[in-house]
């Protein structure tokens, strides 16, 4: 049927390679150009925060839920951050039903690290009763249509959902927690984004389409903080990179990160 293929036709692969040599891509983009982005927030009323991100034809939804939990023993004075991503078969014929596999878990952990490293969620401010009760922030990510670069789309959806999430205010009466009707924003201190490259031959393309991912030798993701520092790195697949290529990619990533962030700011009042 007309759905994406798991095997790319050889003639198509050759074309992509030939075009890359000339600095062109199948969909007409430049090598360092990202696809168009649309962000909708507050789409799920049952979630404290939510966002649907369209990155070209890729669609991802992220929902933020809040719970009051007992803190981890090693971080008694910090809130809890949990990221969970699922590549459900609804999103692509290449995803199989079943419990989360390596790819799902890798995706959630990259997003988790990017948020955690820069303390994007100020977990210190999510303590209710030190050592006893803290807020847990759950970020659940679901791919709805996989047309390449789920990492960047998931990161955008996560941060958009966090930025727009509303937390009930709390009142403590004799160590009894009372949730008030009044709501406040989550303590978000930074807007990290990820920028992902596909390495095809010796060329790097940013924000790869599905067909480019099918023929890529390696994948490289940078998490970039608001001030241009690195908050996560993830090399994927069995290809390799020379250090110089990594540094070259880093410079492009910093520029692209600003573009991603500008999109976020154009959809969300911060």
């Amino acid at each position: 049927m007309s759905a994406p293929e798991k095997i790319i036709p050889t003639v198509k692969k050759n074309t992509i390679l030939l075009m890359l040599e000339k600095g062109e891509r199948l969909d007409g983009r430049k090598l360092d150009e990202i696809r168009k982005i649309k962000i909708e927030t507050d789409v799920i009323g049952n979630a404290e925060g939510s966002a649907i991100v369209h990155l070209g034809n890729t669609i991802v939804i992220a929902g933020v839920k809040l719970n009051i939990v007992t803190p981890y023993a090693d971080t008694p004075n910090q809130g809890v951050q949990i990221v969970n991503a699922e590549l459900i078969p609804l999103a692509s014929p290449v995803f199989e039903p079943g419990p989360p596999g390596e790819d799902d878990v890798e995706l959630s952990r990259v997003i988790d690290r990017a948020l955690r490293s820069v303390k994007a969620i100020d977990l210190d401010k999510l303590v209710i009763i030190p050592g006893k009760k803290v807020w847990a922030v759950y970020i659940d990510i679901y791919a709805l249509n996989h047309s390449g670069n789920l990492i960047d789309a998931s990161m955008l959806a996560s941060i958009a959902a966090l930025l727009t999430a509303k937390k009930p205010k709390i009142e403590l009466v004799n160590d009894q927690i009372k949730k008030l009707d009044e709501r406040e924003k989550l303590p978000i201190t930074d807007i990290p984004v990820t920028v992902t490259f596909a390495k095809i031959g010796d060329k790097l393309v940013v924000d790869p389409e599905y067909e480019e991912e099918l023929i890529m030798d390696a994948r490289l993701t940078f998490g970039i903080t608001s001030n241009g520092n690195i908050c996560a790195l993830q090399k994927g697949l069995c290809g390799t990179f020379k250090p110089s290529l990594i540094l070259e990619a880093l410079e492009i990533a910093r520029k692209v990160a600003d573009e991603y962030r500008n999109y976020i700011k154009s959809f969300i009042q911060i």
Binding site: I7, P9, K12, T15, E211
Partner: protein, 223 residues
Amino acid sequence: MPIYIPRGKLAIPGDIIAEGAFKSGSGTYRINNRVYSAHIGIVDIDRENRMISVKALKSVYVPKKGDIVIGKVVEVGITSWIVDIASPWPGVLQIGEALSRPIDISKADLKKYLNIGDIIVAKIIEFDLTRDPLLTVKESKLGIVKEGALLEFPFYYIEKISAKLHELSRKLQCNVIQGANGRIVIVSKNKDVEVEAIKTISRIISAPSYIRKGFKPKKKYVR
């Protein structure tokens, strides 16, 4: 014997098209005295033969004996290749239908002849739902496509644009191969001609005289 949905109108699965002494043609079914639609499609009523059918606007490609299809090799076996032909069933190309002379299968590596990802133009020589469709490439104009551009559309477009494709092929002096399964291959020595052909076909497909506004076909192409 009332007709509820006249000829040329849109029917949805479950719609009662007519009641009475009508025969149920393709895209319809009959229970008791009623002919129902089984598809989203356009009603056709042959008054002479009292036959009602529904021409689906979107449907699944079911291979037919004699169809020329454009396939993609997805598996290399010991005595055959498995070919994706954009249908619910994979095509099977047996050695005897691919190679002109017999080979020793204990020694030969079929990958040398056709490998995963290769595009072929093939003909359906057998299909009856009980087993997967059998293909051949042993006729003129059939075989591997080494170079060219591949376009994919829902298969039911092909007959609508077939005449235009012939015209295009003449005008641009390129070879346009139409697969009954919705794939089109364009081959020309001049790559610019291929690009021109792709653009023209995309224009034909999305032209308002063919399809009304608001309709975006899925399309993919190479070169």
